[in-house]
Symmetry: C2
Subunit: 249 residues, 2 copies
């Protein structure tokens, strides 16, 4: 267990008081305060949970593609961009770089406009079904699970299994205030699962607001079992797989 | 050593042939090919190097703030944004989110325009001295080391020591073709050091082009010992520390 040593260990040994002087608390200085039951990934405790986590195959591919949502309604758009780039799906042109790469600008197409227009997303964000629809306008499969339809056991098992396998990813749609954050519905990638503490690591695309956090499985499940007033259905999660074979690209 | 298990282990056991089918090669499908002597962080080998690396304290704070340069000249701008956000330096307003957070738009100020204008950066990028100057227009210290002035031993020792300590970061200015990449001068954060293989992990802010890669210390040092025609000096690296006390924020 050499990961993050020795710097991780030092603040743990020194205790919370001195570690504030050293570094970790300062990382969160400009983001909003976290409730006690959420653990920031950038804290020594959060890094220790990652060390011990049982399912984290998706962590490095997702972190390598981490982006901040470009406006307050684009959490779903930013989350999709991360997953599509992490999967290596053939991307639209990104003329600013003369390269092909998914961005929060070029994700939109005639197909996605037919599902929901970019302008409507800017006003009201995305429902779980619209999120799946946009993803499936690209060569991926997005299996949709509504929070009201799955037990805690199924929620935990389905997501943890995905996080332990390469080549597929999880996006979650949840109510922030149900986990003690501000405030409404939100969409983010899930990056790891720690069985000992039964917590998921939720990467947060509104990075100006919160760091990635560890959340109790039950709290996260409850936060998906909340009604999205736009769809009149509960929120939930997507299991996302590429349908593109290597030969196609 | 449970990090990234079991998914990391499986492709390693299966060997390169089958692992291509599973996942890792697909992650790089749209980026440019890497020469054999560079190892992508997203490959099983790259993840194994991270597992074993001796100095990686900066890895999670930097990955949590990973951004893509918004245009082809803003590698330095994007790299500074990552470091300033990772340090938790008091940031300018980001009106799109009604929050304070460094971006590739709000980094610029009267002070930075006096060092080099945004327009000039868009045309020619940044020299090492300009990079340090912009950083020091914020409450940080940027110790400057020119590649032509440091031995390989000093280069290795100074950077690895920083990577093993919390609360400070490294930006490197190097010639890409000297490490076998396309093509000119580039600036990126360094995130980890592996002593066994004597390699540094260089995060690459032109994510549309290359993944983060492990580079031999000697190759990276040589790539900093190259002349930047704008400054007529060699490239090099910066060791960056916050000068802001917790009380000031």
């Amino acid at each position: 267990m050499r990961f993050l040593q020795p710097a991780l260990i030092v603040p743990l040994l020194l205790g919370t008081g001195l570690s504030v002087l050293l570094h970790p608390e300062r990382l969160a200085a400009q983001t909003l305060p976290l409730p006690d039951h959420l653990t920031s990934l950038t804290s020594p405790e959060g890094q220790a949970l990652l060390l011990e986590s049982e399912a984290q195959t998706d962590f490095i591919p997702l972190m390598s593609q981490f982006v901040t949502q470009v406006n307050q309604a684009f959490c779903g758009v930013a989350s999709m961009v991360m997953v599509l780039n992490a999967l290596g799906i053939s991307a639209p042109a990104a003329p600013q770089w003369d390269q092909q790469y998914f961005t929060q600008e070029n994700l939109f197409s005639e197909k996605t406009e037919a599902i929901i227009t970019r302008d409507t997303i800017e006003r009201q964000g995305l429902t779980l079904a619209e999120l799946a629809g946009i993803l499936e306008s690209y060569p991926v499969r997005a299996e949709t699970y509504y929070g009201g339809d799955v037990s805690l056991e199924a929620f935990r098992q389905l997501i943890a299994a995905n996080l332990g396998e390469p080549g597929n990813f999880v996006l979650i749609n949840y109510l922030r205030r149900a986990i003690g954050q501000e405030r409404g519905g939100h969409i983010s990638p899930v990056a790891a699962y720690d069985a000992d503490t039964d917590q998921f690591l939720v990467l947060n695309v509104s990075r100006y607001k919160y760091p990635p956090v560890w959340v109790k499985a039950e709290d996260l499940w409850q936060a998906t079992n909340t009604v999205d007033t736009v769809s009149s259905r509960t929120r939930g999660f997507l299991l996302i797989t590429s349908l593109e074979s290597a030969g196609e690209r």
